[in-house]
Symmetry: C2
Amino acid sequence: MAGSVSNGLAELGKRGLPEEAAAAAAEPLPEELEPEVAEGIREIVMGRNVHASCFAVKEPDADDEVTGEREATMAGVLARYRRCLIERTKHHLGYPYNLDFDYGALAQLQHFSINNLGDPFIESNYGVHSRQFEVGVLDWFARLWDLEKDEYWGYITNCGTEGNLHGILVGREVFPDGVLYASRESHYSVFKAARMYRMDCVKVETLVSGEIDCTDFGRKLFENKDKPAIINVNIGTTVKGAVDDLDLVIETLEKTGFQNRFYIHCDGALFGLMMPFVKLAPKVSFKKPIGSVSVSGHKFVGCPMPCGVQITRLKHINALASNVEYLASRDATIMGSRNGHAPIFLWYTLNRKGYRGFQKEVQKCLRNAHYLKDRLRNAGISAMLNELSSTVVFERPKDEEFVRRWQLACEGNISHVVVMPSVTINKLDSFLNELVEKRVTWYQEGICQSPCIAGDVGQHNCLCTMHKV
Amino acid sequence: MAGSVSNGLAELGKRGLPEEAAAAAAEPLPEELEPEVAEGIREIVMGRNVHASCFAVKEPDADDEVTGEREATMAGVLARYRRCLIERTKHHLGYPYNLDFDYGALAQLQHFSINNLGDPFIESNYGVHSRQFEVGVLDWFARLWDLEKDEYWGYITNCGTEGNLHGILVGREVFPDGVLYASRESHYSVFKAARMYRMDCVKVETLVSGEIDCTDFGRKLFENKDKPAIINVNIGTTVKGAVDDLDLVIETLEKTGFQNRFYIHCDGALFGLMMPFVKLAPKVSFKKPIGSVSVSGHKFVGCPMPCGVQITRLKHINALASNVEYLASRDATIMGSRNGHAPIFLWYTLNRKGYRGFQKEVQKCLRNAHYLKDRLRNAGISAMLNELSSTVVFERPKDEEFVRRWQLACEGNISHVVVMPSVTINKLDSFLNELVEKRVTWYQEGICQSPCIAGDVGQHNCLCTMHKV
């Protein structure tokens, strides 16, 4: 979900179907198929319902079945939409999604309404489910994070947000009067959870890298030392890809006197699956006193739709479950009905790639991220790359059209590219060449200077006129 | 989500892949593909992590890429799984899912990672989305429930539970100290919401039909008259398909002095889409003082994965949005990343069927539900069918194997069949014949009698020995 923080803002005044897509289309869209677009410049106003673009649903005519015209029209819309997706997929760099997958072997399953109702470990009477695959995937992740089969509980979620909502809820149920701590660079879903669950929430400062500042954390713990602590630890922040120092977080808790009075949820949306394959990286492991880990399935693994994996300690779920007596079964998920296709996609990729396959891909991503950072710096562009991370942060390109074309996620003066397996050197070269070329026109000597981003990435990473050595 | 209340219990001691499926398979499963099944009778124990059946993820061998053996093994698992799904789909009656759909035309889109990040009406920089389809679908539903384009807000959810979580959260934000009222036959997600959101929750009694008892509701409102009321109104309860009397609920609120101090969320998971097409049915409409309506997309419409539609008043979302300043954009959904395929499935079906198509299907379902009820009664089996409903409630079959085979949802002594467009007369006949035949062996004269279910369905619907006329 990286970059969601800048949702919309960069899209001011733009249309749903990008112009490139229209160009890619062999023939122009017939008028009745054009998305309904507001005239002139589109305004985003909080709380106004802007129908930027929309394929309206139209009532079939009485003779449609005979003429087949409706089917033909719909096929036309879909074919053009597909061309647009191809183009948009080709020029995508900003979000941490692996767009490179081939699930052709699973197309046969799209004819079924596959629903994993309720708990993965308790079967419902609905027979069209995929629990066999779900439990297989969960076992794999539990092993990855060092939790025994009979000591874990988990499920396949709809996305990283659901994982955070679940982890923090479990924490609250374990410590009903606990205070939630999270660094200010945590994903917005963490703060949303605090509000939904009516929890006291303390925002902790961050270092320039984006990691949680444990000095500030210790201070704030001390101020609230009468109440248990529930902590969201980021295994890869949204914007800078920073990994909070889990060991230092635990040490800070213990030093401040919080022995056994804390619950740690690890938001591993992206790096939760990459870190285990990075040499020398600190381990996310249930051998440490953590309560839950969540990771997204559509990010590093790649999946047609968002999904995620949630793993927690079984004993916590028992505490939760004992409170839901109105149910004859255990209801410990956030959602009731769950997408049964997602576990099969994950199962398929895990089986095909295995540990070795993921390791290779992680190494490639890190290599390519270094390549990107080095080339940016060599071109005189401020850039930062955290250790353990494939998220390259750099100055925000001046032209919003360029930002949109490459689907970069931006915040303030910075922007980022997340190097996923689908981001090849070729793609990076084409991006870099375009950026360098454009920059010449944006920053002409004496007219306009590239922005200083030392505040965001540190002086040593900033190449503005003031900080350039 | 009908019947989820009985999740698991009826499955005691059973395996993941039903025996029929094994029989359907041409060749037996090679041993290494057999789901890992615990020996003997499976025990469901709350809080024990039962690995009933599982397709384990296995690490590829080093030479797998050369031999292609792994691909072949996986293809085998999938082919057998598909046969199992066909069989399970054929014998399904208990859950309100329309299993009859053909989305072949959309198979081409499975290659794309389609994600509708955040708000449907504010574009993010991620270009591989389907907002054009989402807004088209939302417009259609807003019109169905009489809300103008510039007065509604909504989004495509992951399931009915997300709709209820959203509607009740909006209610709580509008009335932070409001008390949540819901009939005891409301879906379990309503009570889950109360707990998650730390709201006071009052359970209201129901009539035999399953509708909310407005006399009890009035009494309970009066007891809490100092606090605003947030009410969950059921447009089709989970078990009995009962439709709460929305007009009487509003009248009760006003009589008790709650003018303008209430928020009504309508849980229309199943019937929200059927009711508009039932002649003489009371209308769910935003012309009445309601705040939100949710409906499932995988139920009456039919969809490969769970999804739903949430429509609320824009003014409420503005109240919500003003509180989320940490976001540069509006974050008013429960989930952050959202399945971009679901809106396209819905758009496709709405376009193909239209109002007329749905009306025809609703009429067919109601006709078939009456057929089923009549045939049950003629066979001496206690049964109830609420007006406006296609959910036929009847005595719980004595044999759990039979319950499982037809995937019936059960609660206590009752069971139900939800007649969906995929439930044909042929399917019902085959079910009825089997039931009647089996019953002869279950209830032999003098040995064992069929249960009295008058408490659940009323004396006039009960055909036990005591109540039979």
